[in-house]
């Protein structure tokens, strides 16, 4: 596979974490415009730990995930009682605040005689752990997809379990779920923390792939895109969001046929697709239908 194909596949893998993160909140009944902020938290935290404090990547990833989960938990605590657009706008506000805080965040340390670390809007250069440890692009892509497979396995496991049913129940009808004794808020906060961790994991992997991050990478566009991927791909299964990402980044970006007109084609395609399937390609109904056919 040439460099370009690896690059596209790596991008698909990285954004899929964000799409899964938005999907997890969507099935819990909450629409978030802010997952890019936790993606950013992961990127910054992971990058700092490896390039400023010499932590190994796996450890830094775990720490970043914990931080992402904590951050989304704290944002969710006062806002998860809000519904629909109110919650979306609260997450938008929180994410834009995070982006501006990244712009104001200057914290560097001398490593081998050179300042390393976030330098506000100049960004954060030199996250070179992957290169320093001689990891080939193909191998790094392997790691990303291994992590993604782990996340997917967790999703598919949860979806079959009682927890998965509770989650969807809370998403579809919180009052009904509450009347059945479900602590709706605790479930939503749990889902939010997990979504934060997922986004942060994507962030860590992105930072080390790109070796450079800057606040503008984590703007509203990324957040609304990940929400769109989850919805286009379908809310019926965790594979839905991945389908959304593959459709955009894979098919159109990779194919380069619509060279330069890609967004016009993709935008029109998405709008028409949503008219035909308002809950995405792999929505709940088609997933049930597939399960009946193949089980």
């Amino acid at each position: 596979m040439d460099d370009y194909a690896i690059g596209v596949l790596t991008n698909i893998g990285l954004i899929s974490f964000l799409a899964l993160s938005a999907y997890l909140l969507l099935i819990a009944g909450e629409m978030s415009f802010g997952q890019q902020a936790f993606f950013g938290v992961g990127a910054y935290a992971g990058g700092m730990l490896t390039s400023m404090y010499g932590w190994p990547l796996p450890l830094a990833a775990l720490a970043a995930m914990a931080l992402g989960a904590l951050a989304q938990f704290l944002v969710g605590l006062p806002t998860l009682r809000l519904r629909g657009l109110y919650f979306a706008m609260a997450t938008l506000a929180a994410a834009e605040m995070a982006r501006i805080l990244f712009e104001l965040f200057h914290f560097q340390r001398q490593v081998e005689g050179e300042p390393v670390g976030p330098d506000g809007s100049q960004g954060f250069r030199g996250i070179r752990w992957v290169f320093a440890h001689g990891v080939e692009p193909l191998e790094y892509m392997g790691i990303i997809y291994a992590m993604l497979a782990l996340a997917l396995a967790a999703f598919l496991l949860v979806e079959r379990s009682r927890l998965g049913a509770t989650l969807r129940g809370v998403g579809e009808d919180p009052q009904l779920a509450a009347s059945l004794g479900v602590d709706v808020n605790r479930v939503k906060l749990g889902a939010a923390a997990a979504a934060g961790a997922l986004a942060a994991l994507g962030g860590v992997l992105y930072a080390h792939h790109n070796t450079y991050i800057e606040p503008r990478n984590f703007d509203l566009m990324l957040g609304v895109h990940s929400l769109a991927y989850a919805l286009i791909g379908g809310l019926g299964t965790a594979l839905g969001p991945l389908l959304g990402v593959v459709l955009d980044i894979g098919a159109l970006e990779g194919s380069r046929i619509f060279h330069g007109y890609r967004m016009i084609v993709f935008g029109g395609l998405v709008a028409l697709l949503l008219v035909w399937r308002p809950r995405g390609l792999l929505d709940e109904r088609s997933v049930q239908w597939l399960k009946r056919r193949f089980s």
Partner: protein, 289 residues
């Protein structure tokens, strides 16, 4: 002391542009119970259309204003047909994501039509700003404030003095009862969408004239400011939209003076977050599931 007055003045001018944007957003949200993420990009389309015509044929200010408004209404109609009409009794999220998809289209269309990052846009009055009592006053800002006031009066007149206004308020209040009262609700949707797009187009023209430039970021900027002002003023309430816009303008003007642009935006978002988290009454009266 004059700084305070100057900032308040600038805040009012800035706030009036936000108020116009919020009015457009609120009209669409009030009637359709949907968020149109392509509201800002449709305005940008109008501004880019005017810039393109100006670059190739050189037209006067009035013509530019008309082209901007017409472009915004045209783009708005395209968005309404593709994203909102099909999802009328469907899911609000689908309609919103569809409108986001068209935002991508408008943005790429703009960068293709006019590839350079920034294009000039003629100001209303090229000369030095007016001055009285030690306060600087740009013509664009004055016209912006006047436009906001006139638009509020026009909207109030439409809403409370015309048959269409009765229909519009009825649809906002109880869509099914409006149908039963014999109101052609789909037609009200289309006309309201056009009205909101026209208001957006006017705001876009004045914003571009006061910034004296257009960039592809105009779509994102006007969407964010419009949404922010609408939420601050109370989702779905037209007077709220105006108050929200003015409040946001004043907050930004003053915080920019004391804290600089980054803290200004940070403060605006922090205010929205805190108000939402505290679930203040005027903001959460209308349920927006």
């Amino acid at each position: 002391m004059t700084d305070l007055a100057q900032n308040t003045l600038d805040g009012l001018f800035l706030g009036s542009s936000y108020a116009l944007l919020a009015l457009g957003f609120t009209l669409i949200f009030g009637v359709l119970r949907r968020v149109n993420l392509s509201f800002g990009p449709a305005i940008m389309f109008g501004c880019y259309a005017a810039t393109w015509v100006n670059l190739n044929f050189g037209v006067g200010l009035m013509a530019l204003a008309l082209i901007t408004v017409a472009g915004a209404v045209l783009a708005g109609a395209y968005v309404e047909r593709l994203c909102f009409a099909p999802h009328r009794n469907g899911s609000p999220i689908a309609a919103m994501v569809a409108s986001f998809a068209l935002w991508m289209q408008f943005e790429e269309l703009a960068t293709i039509a006019l590839p350079r990052h920034i294009y000039d846009f003629p100001p209303l009055h090229g000369g030095t700003p007016l001055e009285f009592g030690g306060l600087m006053l740009r013509v664009e800002s004055l016209v912006m404030l006047l436009a906001a006031i006139v638009m509020c009066a026009v909207l109030w007149g439409i809403l409370y003095r015309t048959r269409f206004g009765v229909a519009l308020r009825a649809v906002i209040d109880q869509p099914q009862a409006a149908q039963l009262a014999g109101i052609d609700v789909p037609r009200v949707f289309v006309l309201t969408f056009a009205l909101a797009s026209a208001i957006g187009g006017l705001a876009g023209f004045l914003i571009a004239a006061s910034h004296e430039q257009v960039t592809p970021m105009l779509g994102m900027w006007s969407t964010l400011k419009g949404l922010l002002a609408m939420m601050l003023g109370g989702l779905g309430s037209l007077p709220g939209a105006v108050l929200g816009g003015l409040a946001l303008g004043l907050l930004e003007a003053h915080s920019q003076w004391f804290l600089g642009p980054q803290y200004r935006d940070l403060l605006a978002y922090l205010l929205l977050f805190v108000l939402l988290a505290a679930r203040v009454p005027w903001m959460t009266t209308r349920s927006a599931s």
